[in-house]
């Protein structure tokens, strides 16, 4: 599990740095980054990614469009996706769920919550 490659997508360099550090602390050393959905798509096509962590509000391609596009592609249908965003309105969460995210965290998050949600997604349980 710790050997898996994680792609962290966020347009905030600060957030990416925090996510990468939190993941490394949790034992996930192989983490690559993307600034937005478009860059993430390119990385997903060129590298073998085991887990995706994505923000919602991003330029070029937002997180929801990224998830929708990925779920339409047979190759990424079962890619574990965790959305980490400031969006906490219920309608947004339902929309993300419908688009195909496996779990959802509202920022700011604690390292424990991030680790817990990754574990839940990997074990196929939401809780």
């Amino acid at each position: 599990m710790a050997n898996m490659k994680i792609l962290a997508v966020d347009d905030s360099p600060t957030m990416r740095r925090i996510i990468v550090n939190t993941l490394k602390r949790a034992g996930f050393d192989d983490v690559i980054e993307a600034n937005d959905g478009k860059e993430a798509m390119e990385k997903l096509k060129s590298e073998a990614i085991d887990f995706l962590i994505t923000d919602w509000n991003m330029p070029e391609m937002d997180g929801l469009t990224l998830v929708t596009n990925l779920r339409e592609d047979a190759k990424f249908k079962s890619l574990p996706i965790l959305m980490v965003t400031t969006r906490s309105v219920k309608e947004d969460i339902v929309e993300a769920l419908k688009a195909g995210v496996n779990n959802y965290i509202v920022k700011p998050f604690t390292p424990d919550t991030l680790k817990e949600k990754i574990d839940q997604v990997l074990s196929g349980q939401s809780k």
Binding site: S12, T14, I18, N57, T86, S88, I93, L97, P108, S126
Partner: protein, 202 residues
């Protein structure tokens, strides 16, 4: 009589023209009313948003300062302790050295933990950046509405040239982004995902 009629006609024409001009002005003001109202409503919203950013930045900064102060205090203890170890080592007091090393190790571990807490707390930057973008976008809307008003009144010459023209940034933000208040709590989100997962399994 003819002269009097001519004056009357002229007067009537002037009145009609004046009425038309007034109607035009009223029409223009009516069309501007919504722009003015919208701009008027956005000013307090933008101000409130800026106050919120100030408050949240202050709270987050103070939380970090608390941790930094605690780290610094412990670092001073560690430094003093290392001096003590040196002294004890010279006197050959091994048991006391061991005891002191355990204490210092614990303080050093707490410092690492606190440093991570600071790192986690720095998430506030992403949230306040979105709040700033929200406020900036409201101010840009006001600016654009005011420009419309100036243009509609053909009054641009009455205003000084806009200083510091800039290229508008594309702003992508969550208008509800908040450091302390989440519209939906994490446990509620967990329940929603739990339900869906259970349905999938069944």
């Amino acid at each position: 009589m003819t002269t009097s009629n001519n004056i009357k006609d002229k007067f009537q024409l002037e009145i009609v023209s004046l009425t038309e001009t007034f109607n035009e002005i009223v029409k223009k003001f009516k069309s501007l009313h919504s722009s003015i109202t919208e701009s008027y409503n956005k000013v307090p919203k933008a101000t409130k948003q800026l106050d919120k950013i100030n408050e949240q930045t202050e709270v987050a900064t103070n939380q970090m300062l608390d941790k930094v102060e605690a780290i610094t205090e412990r670092e001073q203890d560690i430094s003093g302790g290392l001096g003590e170890i040196e002294k004890l080592a010279k006197e050959g007091k091994d048991d006391e050295i061991c005891e002191l090393v355990v204490k210092l190790k614990s303080k050093s571990e707490i410092n690492v933990a606190d440093a991570y807490i600071i790192m986690d707390a720095l998430q506030f930057q992403d949230i306040t950046a979105q709040q700033m973008d929200h406020a900036a976008s409201m101010l840009e809307d006001i600016e654009s509405k005011l420009n419309d008003i100036v243009e509609a009144l053909n009054a641009s010459s009455a205003f000084p040239e806009k200083g510091g023209a800039y290229e508008k940034k594309i702003r992508i933000f969550d208008p509800h982004a908040d450091l302390f208040e989440k519209k939906t709590e994490q446990r509620e989100i967990d329940t929603m995902f739990d339900k869906v997962t259970k349905q999938k399994i069944e």
